[in-house]
Amino acid sequence: MNFKLRVWRQKNGTAKGAMVEYDARDISSDMSFLEMLDTVNENLIHEGQEPIAFDHDCREGICGMCSLMINGVAHGPERTTTTCQLHMRKFKDGDKITVEPWRANAFPIIRDLVVDRRALDRIMQAGGYVSVKTGSAPDANSIPVAKEDADAAFEAAECIGCGACVAACPNASATLFVAAKTAQYAHLPQGQPERSKRAINMVEAMDRDGFGSCTNHYECEAACPKGISVRFIAELNRDFLKAAMTTAKFGTLPPLPDFEE
């Protein structure tokens, strides 16, 4: 198969970028999208040009490192599939394919198709956990959890933190990401003590990093490679409302740590 690629190239975070056209020739339909890019890069290196930088790691759809806006769709045309699991047989020979990085104020570009997603980590640091010191846990079976709750928690916990929800959202909002985490713990007894605080702190952290707000477009759910439901956003909204009406405090986020990287 042969393809015409238009790829965003940008030397670094401050340089000006542009779309550059490349030919992808003799591509096997069994290749994954990333293997197709590997092949293009191999040719670029042959010609003494710098390869296209893109993020990837596990290549089995679980680490959340790969990204890419492919023809205007986060992770490409196949639903519930990460870019690394998208195969070229889903395209037609001769297709024109436009490849762009995730675009969001909170995701500055590092190079070409690579963006900085640490804002998602900062949200997690604001409360994406149950505070439990190592060694202080009671026996695992001492608190039964209804199977339905455990299953619901699992469905939310499947988030791989790739940022496709942000990329696909017309508002570049990370609400589905936040909701997936808050909902996981909201469905488990272990998550209850910090439930209100978590909802408020994680939302405040999301706002701090310049993500947009949710206006219920639901593009996030459609783009999510794990198919995480916007139902969890409703649950987050509910938790947030309850927190706002009860005891939890606003504005308690500690300042971001400042240290040399």
């Binding site: 238009r6 965003w8 779309m19 806006m69 023809n71 205007g72 769709v73 436009t98 762009e100 675009r103 969001a104 104020n105 909170a106 696909a168 017309p170 508002n171 570049a172 909002s173 609400t175 408020i200 939302v203 405040e204 999301m206 706002d207 310049g210 993500f211 947009g212 707000s213 949710c214 206006t215 219920n216 477009h217 639901y218 593009e219 759910e221 459609a222 783009a223 916007v230 139902r231 956003i233 409703a234 649950e235 987050l236 909204n237 509910r238 938790d239 947030f240 409302l241 706002a244 405090k249 606003f250 504005g251």
Partner: protein
């Protein structure tokens, strides 16, 4: 920190306020539409209703609230739209393929602003008489302000009818996303009820839009007006 300030300073807090003001405005729209329907009972009924309303001791309190909700809703909407634009300073070059959102959801700010402009026009038209300076002076034979007369007079002109119809359709688009959305925002999303929510919100919005549109159309085409 003050709880209200806290609510105001977070995106979801503002969204909740958006939903709450939205519900209240929606309630007003329903009441307004039902009040409008009295026009079909004729001049006397409508003018009597208008007279009762303007003389009601709660009128100004209600108007003040309405104005406050409307202003808050507008402010939040504009702020939301601005912030969301800033959240993605560089657009995608390839047209993004929408998989779930609807034109209604994507053009909320546009439809919202058009409705805002329409409200201004509507008030100028019927409340302040700015469009036709003769309106405030119109009285019926019982000496009441002749609201019925204004309507009949106003909707004889095709461009006014056109404006009202278009505005109501855009309001409908705004409401269809808003009404559905507020359930989600208030945390009411369950697969068992989502279909019911969709059908009921659609019904309500159609009722408001069709009810309101029917007046200029009926007047213009000269259908039963007693």
């Amino acid at each position: 920190m003050n709880r209200l300030v806290g609510l105001f300073s977070t995106s979801i807090g503002r969204k909740l306020m958006m939903a709450v003001t939205g519900v209240l405005l929606l309630g007003f729209l329903v009441a307004h539409m039902l009040g409008n329907m009295i026009v079909f009972q004729g001049q006397d009924a409508l003018n009597a209703y208008a007279d009762w309303l303007t003389g009601h001791p709660m009128l100004w309190i209600a108007r003040a609230h309405l104005l406050a909700f409307f202003a808050l809703h507008t402010y939040l909407g504009v702020r939301l739209a601005t912030e969301n634009r800033i959240a993605r300073p560089t657009r995608y070059q390839h047209r993004t393929r929408h998989q779930a959102s609807t034109p209604a959801s994507r053009y909320m700010i546009l439809t919202g602003l058009v409705v805002l402009a329409f409200v201004a026009y509507h008030l100028a038209h019927f409340t302040f008489g700015a469009v036709d300076p003769g309106y405030p002076a119109l009285v019926d034979d019982q000496g009441r302000h002749d609201v019925y007369g204004m309507i009949v007079h106003g909707f004889r002109q095709p461009w006014i009818v056109g404006t009202y119809v278009v505005a109501m359709l855009l309001l409908g688009t705004h409401l269809i996303h808003g009404a559905r959305s507020l359930f989600q925002t208030l945390g009411l999303n369950h697969e068992s009820f989502n279909v019911i929510i969709r059908v009921m919100t659609l019904g309500l919005v159609m009722l408001i839009v069709l009810g309101n549109i029917s007046i200029p159309l009926f007047v213009y085409f000269g259908l039963p007006t007693h």
